[in-house]
Amino acid sequence: MTAPAGTERQDAPGRTDPRTYRDAAREDGLVPALTLLTRALEPGAVPRGPGGHAVLPREVVEEAGVPAESAGAGADRPYGAGRSLAGALGLAVLDPPADREPYASPNPDGTAAQPPCAGTGTGTDWTTGLAWLRLGSSEALRDLCLKWLAERESEGSSLLMKQMVKGALAEVLIEQLEIAAVLESGPSAPVVERLQEQITGADRGLLRLLGAYGFTGDGPGRDAYASELLADVYRGAGDRGCAGPDAAEEGAG
């Protein structure tokens, strides 16, 4: 688990060891790791989630010949600051193609509607890779917490040495160790979905330890926000095999 960042580990001829994405996220950051993941699994394409959205490095989108500015369904509706927060990290946020039915309308029986699949492809590799990547990003946040808390003092000792802080960090570590163990086991799509929620929970636990610093728009909370956005957009992609290639001419981008 100590391969240097950016070194693609091979677990089968032509296939990148998904743990590579964890290393890259931990060492280089979320966006470079996402570039690595996309180029390895969907070279030259714009993988979209089951709802038809995409959150990808801007350069990857541009390389695929898709406009990085969203112009699909929903692009004209009111929006908040979320897109610009992701954009500032170098991510392109793409709405679904304009002809896609909206997802939100409920079925008559009150269950959630299932959208038409906006893409085709091998979804499980993508979502598993994404979970490894998000775990690495979460571990990077843990590294940052340790450093930041060690440098700050309260009542004569570093915050890191406070028992409640130690306990909170240990709780997060337990989560991350379990997530890694499950990912190593080659989990099914529903299990990966659960892991995504668990990773978000671990990140939230770490951000609480950073106080308002974890809430700044140009600090570590922004990476954690982007990580949550990825989990949201590609939610269910493993189940539905929707994370496949999205040809430039198909995507309204």
């Binding site: 929006y79 997802y103 939100a104 309260s154 609480r208 106080g211 809430f215 700044t216």
Partner: protein
Amino acid sequence: MIRELPDGMARLRDRTASWAGELRAGALGLDRDPEAIRDRLEEPAVRFLAELGGDGPVTPGRDTLERVVVAEELARGDAGALLASPGPSMSGVLLAVLGSPEQRDWFYGRLGERPTWTCFALTEPERGSAIGEMSSVLTPDGDGGYVLHGTKRYVGNASRAGVAAVFARVAGTERLGVTAVLVDTADPGYRARPLPMLGLRGAQFSSVSLDGVRVPADRVLGTHLSPARRGMWSIVQVFNRLRPSVAAIALGIARAAHEYVGEQRGTLRGAERERYEELGRRIDAARLLTYRAADAVDARPSAGHLGSAAKARAAVLAEDVTRSALGFFGPGARLDHPLLDKLARDARGVEFMEGAGNIQKLTLFHGLQAGKVGRP
């Protein structure tokens, strides 16, 4: 699980609740641009907040509960606008406890001239909100006034405030020598710069540098009180009164997300319905705790432990409900439902207002150990 409120307060709740639609309609615009509040100064909710406090509470003696009721309803509309509006805000509570009649007249006189923002400058870059470890310093000028030096961070509205309430240590005193002063932000030495934040962006959290700001004797709060009551004793009471309102902001955010699910998804069935109803029960329970906390402070201003419990509980609740709400919609919910995305970001911000969860838990432990909380 709805508790009856006194008549005047119930009417105030209904009145403030009626503004939710308008607040919600402007929420995303304010999230994108915190300065958009300047175009909304004539909205009823914004005007209400700008003028709040001049006439006193509608139910005297129950003002903490009243603030809780109002804060929940306005935050249900938009917590960003609640925090972005001009008006006395937290500084009004500070003035109610520590201000002399002349200081209140000056403060509300300034606010009465035009819509004026105020700010409450406590948090510091190195030590957060640990009031006993504050490094901002007031140096006596020999005439009963001070010269103020220091740096503050994450202060809501500081970059557009006309009046700032600033907490600092008097030079030469130890940790209990904390004093609150009023600063006219037009005075030389006061500089504030907005900080980019992930949520609650309307509040325009800012960093503040205080470089030799002169504080005349009549802007030092608490000097008309007995020595025992002018420092930490009163400051603790201010925070006791404010904390339930912060819990109420979290409740409002949670309710906004919960109601959004109800409105957008319509009839829910089976496990989804159960999940939705359970979230509602959790919101109701946290509200009852918050009301109790407000009652306790209104009855006895030093009774702040329940407020710590309410704040810690409601902050976690807001995060949980807003995260769960996204799960009622499909993949890409954060993009298809930008209001829910905003609520999920806003919810995180409550954690660091008025002391983080761990600080509240430590306060509760001390209360438990001292036999001040948890007894019938």
